[in-house]
């Protein structure tokens, strides 16, 4: 649920209940005031009647008070508490009964007591209450509509900077070298939020850059000692007085040094791709490159009697030759290295897809971690970075790479 909807819900409930309670109080208050007013009027009328009786020594006639209906009833009671009450009122002109208010009290004339009842119409006050009620209702509806519109549009407008910030955070790319900048706003809270987000992104980016520099520097620093090891070994084997066992040891050191060196190069390459440092994109003929690689790897494939078949459509891509070379190298060497004796390798190139299918171990690989660093099979001789590099190259060019397994083929698909 959107913020404005939440806000709307809350404000509608509160508004309606407050208005309802208000209207009730209002209604009773007005009713009370109107009743007091009527009572005062009735008292006045009664006093007038009393005055008249005192002055004239007789009961007044109906005509003198034509708006009111006054009745006098002889009584033997000597005292009666003055009482106000609602009573029907007969409109003499329209001949119909409507709501009225009455006073009943005692008047004494020449020793005789009369119960006097004066009734007046309440039509005027009822009308007033109705009008006030209608206006209140109209106000209530108007207020609700205005609140709704306000919440919907003004609130949305007010929160605009928040949504801008949210979108900016969504598209935040840690490896993007451009500084992360958010628009400033009139609202202090949003400015503060933006400032915090900017500071945080800056810190994250700095950490990331430091980490990358560390990887790069560490890898570079390792290269010179590696070069020393290799050079020493190259010199050592010139000594032909060494025993075969010693040569065997040297061979192992060669292998280890070679592996370390490949690992290093892979790490450096990853840093380079992630830093977007490879920017020598050119128009490449992918099918031509694949054909070339197929020839290059034919020896390796033959050593396992792997049947390589390629069905290639013409495809132009714009990418770095260096990276595409590495991409194909990794795909080919994986597909051959993890293949079975007498296995198969099928390469299919269409306008929007490049598919490598190969036979191999008869169980699917974990597609979730396959492309992560240092994920490799137990028997793998590789660095564990090959597929990570492939994935990173694909990411760089906004291609999608996926893995699937359908007996007996392991399939890697790059969608352009």
């Amino acid at each position: 649920m959107k913020l404005w909807a939440h806000y709307n819900k809350a404000s509608t409930i509160i508004t309606i209940s407050v208005l309802f309670a208000g209207a009730l109080i209002y209604f009773f208050a007005i009713n009370y005031i109107a009743q007091q007013q009527l009572n005062r009027d009735l008292t006045e009328e009664f006093e007038e009647v009393e005055d008249y009786v005192k002055l004239n020594g007789q009961l007044p006639k109906q005509v003198d008070f034509d708006e009111d209906q006054t009745t006098f009833t002889k009584t033997s009671q000597t005292s009666l508490k003055t009482r106000y009450f609602d009573a029907p009122y007969c409109d003499p002109k329209e001949k119909k009964t409507e709501a009225g208010r009455a006073i009943r009290s005692l008047i004494s004339l020449k020793g005789q007591h009369y119960i006097t009842t004066i009734t007046i119409s309440r039509k005027g006050t009822e009308y007033l209450i109705q009008i006030i009620g209608a206006i209140t209702l109209a106000l209530m509806v108007g207020l609700l509509v205005i609140l709704f519109i306000t919440n919907r549009y003004i609130l949305n407008g007010l929160w605009r900077p928040f949504y801008d910030t949210l979108n900016a955070i969504k598209t935040f790319n840690i490896s993007d070298s451009n500084p992360f900048h958010l628009k400033s706003d009139k609202v202090d809270e949003f400015n503060e939020l933006n400032k915090v987000v900017e500071t945080m992104s800056l810190r994250v980016k700095n950490d990331y850059v430091n980490l990358k520099h560390f990887t790069e520097n560490a890898s570079h620093e390792m290269l010179t000692p590696l070069a020393v090891i290799t050079a020493k070994l190259d010199t050592l084997i010139q000594d032909e007085t060494l025993k075969p066992e010693q040569f065997e040891q040297i061979n192992d050191i060669y292998s280890a040094a070679g592996k370390l060196s490949r690992l290093n190069q892979s790490l450096l390459l990853l840093v380079k791709i992630e830093n977007n440092l490879v920017d020598d994109a050119e128009e490449l003929n992918l099918d031509g490159l694949i054909n070339q690689k197929t020839r290059q790897f034919s020896e390796l494939a033959q050593s396992k009697d792997i049947l390589v078949s390629a069905r290639l459509e013409e495809k132009q891509i714009k990418a770095s030759k260096y990276l595409i070379d590495i991409l194909l190298n990794n795909l080919f060497s994986n597909a051959i290295r993890h293949n079975t004796q007498n296995g198969r390798l099928i390469i299919t190139q269409t306008a929007d897809k490049l598919v490598f299918q190969n036979t191999g171990a008869e169980k699917p690989l974990d597609a979730g971690t396959l492309f992560e660093r240092f994920q490799k099979g137990q028997k793998s001789e590789g660095t564990g970075l090959g597929l990570t590099i492939v994935k990173n190259i694909c990411n760089l060019y906004h291609w999608d790479i996926s893995y699937s397994y359908e007996l007996p083929m392991h399939t890697f698909t790059i969608s352009f």
Binding site: L223, T224, A231, D234, T235, G258, Q265, V278, F297
Partner: protein
């Protein structure tokens, strides 16, 4: 061949010097920019091996110095930096080749010899080793005036062996030379064996001396005599 090795890592410098010295070359070495420039201003060299990261500055300064002084030394850059920019930058301002650390001494030697050949014998495209005559332009090989047809890998290997004659070359070095480190052969050296067997057979068939010998499973040696 007269060489100047500019490399600040002493262990590496010594090994390179030793490796090149045994072949009748004259090797001088230094570890910093200032000494290198003094040496270059006083003497002429055939080839300069240049490390880019030096303690007192960037090795590119040497390239600029050679360019402004109109000196004709061939330059091979040895660098731990293998970024593409550096590579292009180096080759654009006058380096002849580029080798990334770590490298095999045999590879370094082969590269230096190749550069030297390009620079020194512009007119003469023939490489003669006893009865073997290699036409570098046409990439053909004659043994005792009889043409020997070699595959590309066998030809590359022969050149590589002759450049490193008298040295034991490890299988790793040969594999890297023939397939490049990108191919990642994963210590599967059967391929090398096949290629060497074929090369040796072809040479022997042409009545060539048997120069190639296997050394204890670690590598091969091409006899110098």
């Amino acid at each position: 061949m007269k060489l100047l090795i500019i490399e600040d890592e002493q262990a590496l410098r010594d090994n390179i010097t030793n490796y090149f010295n045994e072949d009748g070359n004259i090797c001088e070495s230094c570890s910093c920019l200032a000494v290198a420039i003094t040496k270059l201003s006083n003497y002429d060299y055939d080839c300069v091996l240049l490390d880019i990261g030096l303690p007192d500055g960037d090795g590119f300064a040497i390239l600029e110095y050679l360019k402004t002084q109109m000196k004709n030394e061939a330059v091979l850059i040895i660098s731990a930096r293998n970024s593409l920019d550096n590579k292009l930058k180096g080759l654009n301002i006058g380096a002849d080749d580029y080798l990334t650390k770590p490298f095999h001494l045999a590879e370094l030697k082969a590269r230096v010899v190749a550069i030297y050949r390009r620079k020194a014998f512009n007119s003469n495209n023939k490489l003669v080793f006893n009865e073997i005559v290699i036409n570098l332009l046409g990439r053909t090989v004659d043994v005792n005036q009889t043409p020997v047809i070699l595959t590309r890998k066998e030809y590359d290997m022969l050149l590589y062996f002759i450049a490193n004659k008298g040295k034991v070359i490890s299988k790793n070095a040969i594999a890297e030379h023939l397939w490049g480190d990108e191919m990642d052969m994963h210590n599967n050296f059967d391929f090398i064996y096949t290629h060497i067997k074929n090369l040796r057979k072809k040479l022997l068939d042409a009545k060539c001396n048997d120069y190639l010998s296997s050394i204890y499973g670690i590598g091969y040696k091409f006899k110098a005599e």
